[in-house]
Symmetry: C2
Subunit: 216 residues, 2 copies
């Protein structure tokens, strides 16, 4: 497998964590989202992902080849295909709650704060840096309040119990980003405690932006 990745991409970071937790190997191919006007916009990469976003997963050995985009879809695919270590439990309600938590990040927080949106705010809407920080902070705070509430009954080391799931694959990169933007997380003790725990584990450490070859 090949993973098209950018070290700081939160969505690629989710997939890197999942691959590590599941002990799967993938060759990481860096796509620099800033250099050369953004390598994700190149003709070569558009062949891989016409949506011009990372990550993308290429299964070179699958019949007829197979390229998959969207981090949560990649997580589902890996979990259905490689079942030694799974990141969703069997219980239908638990699976649903874990997916809802993951989508609260992937659909309601991250899309508003990713690079292309911040670029549009500056370039097309000419918002100030201060307004951009307020925008970023607003969606983190609204979103994290909802996440913390979803974790209300959580008493394990991970978001849902004592095994890592899709939820942790999504939460850790989102917290990493929030900290990078100096957001105060003191209102979210469950989130903080899960973040601290996950980052003691090599699967999470080795997926972090600064551990990537393209972080240099």
């Amino acid at each position: 497998m090949k993973l098209y990745s950018y070290f700081r991409s939160s969505a690629a970071y989710r997939v890197r964590i999942a691959l590590n937790l599941k002990k799967l190997e993938a060759e990481v191919i860096p796509i620099h989202l800033l250099k050369n006007g953004g390598e994700q916009h190149s003709a070569a990469y558009r062949q891989i992902n016409p949506s011009e976003l990372v990550p993308a997963l290429l299964e070179a050995n699958a019949e007829q080849g197979f390229t998959l985009t969207q981090s949560l879809s990649i997580l589902e695919y890996l979990d259905e295909k490689f079942t030694d270590t799974v990141l969703l439990p069997k219980n239908i309600q638990q699976r649903a709650l874990i997916r809802a938590f993951s989508q609260s990040i992937a659909c309601d927080i991250h899309p508003l704060n990713n690079l292309r949106v911040l670029q549009y705010l500056s370039a097309a809407l000419e918002v100030s840096d201060e307004q951009k920080t307020a925008w970023y902070t607003h969606w983190i705070e609204v979103g994290f309040a909802g996440l913390e509430a979803q974790l209300k009954h959580s008493n394990g080391q991970f978001c849902f119990g004592n095994s890592a799931s899709f939820a942790d694959c999504c939460l850790i990169p989102q917290v990493y980003n929030a900290l990078r933007f100096n957001i105060d997380l003191s209102a979210y003790p469950k989130i903080q405690s899960i973040y601290t725990h996950c980052n003691t584990l090599s699967a999470f450490q080795n997926a972090a932006p600064e551990a990537q070859a393209d972080a240099a």
Copy 2:
């Protein structure tokens, strides 16, 4: 089951389509996103969904009760629980491609153009109506180009072959919204043809905003 819905919510519309395709009954409880400062922000609704968004699905008869948020998580739950008519095929690669397509809408297009974001652009960033239309149009055009490319090999009546899937549940509401904002869709012939076909079917017709009790 009870579905907390708003007639114009694209995410609630996805779930209404899925319920109809699967021939499942749910009592629809309208949450008006504009009246009374937005009923989704009320204390009563925050108990149901702390993220203050629609839809939410309440399984009153499940053990200990069970409330589920996030439209795609609800679709997965319904498809795992009620298997007479399924909206994801068994093939792992096909499932992955359908989920990726659905997430291209739910993660990359819709979150940027929903009500709370447009409200923030006006209220906090004081962007003009013209700039707001340009913002809306930009994310639709970028997103729809990616969707049309994902449909390149599609030759069926639906997004993926001749059965409805999660992809159609997501696409039809997104196209409906784009048309409401008068976006020119002539560059997306596959999307247009799937939209036209789906809207000949009662499952889609009965899920449309104007068919809802709260549309009055």
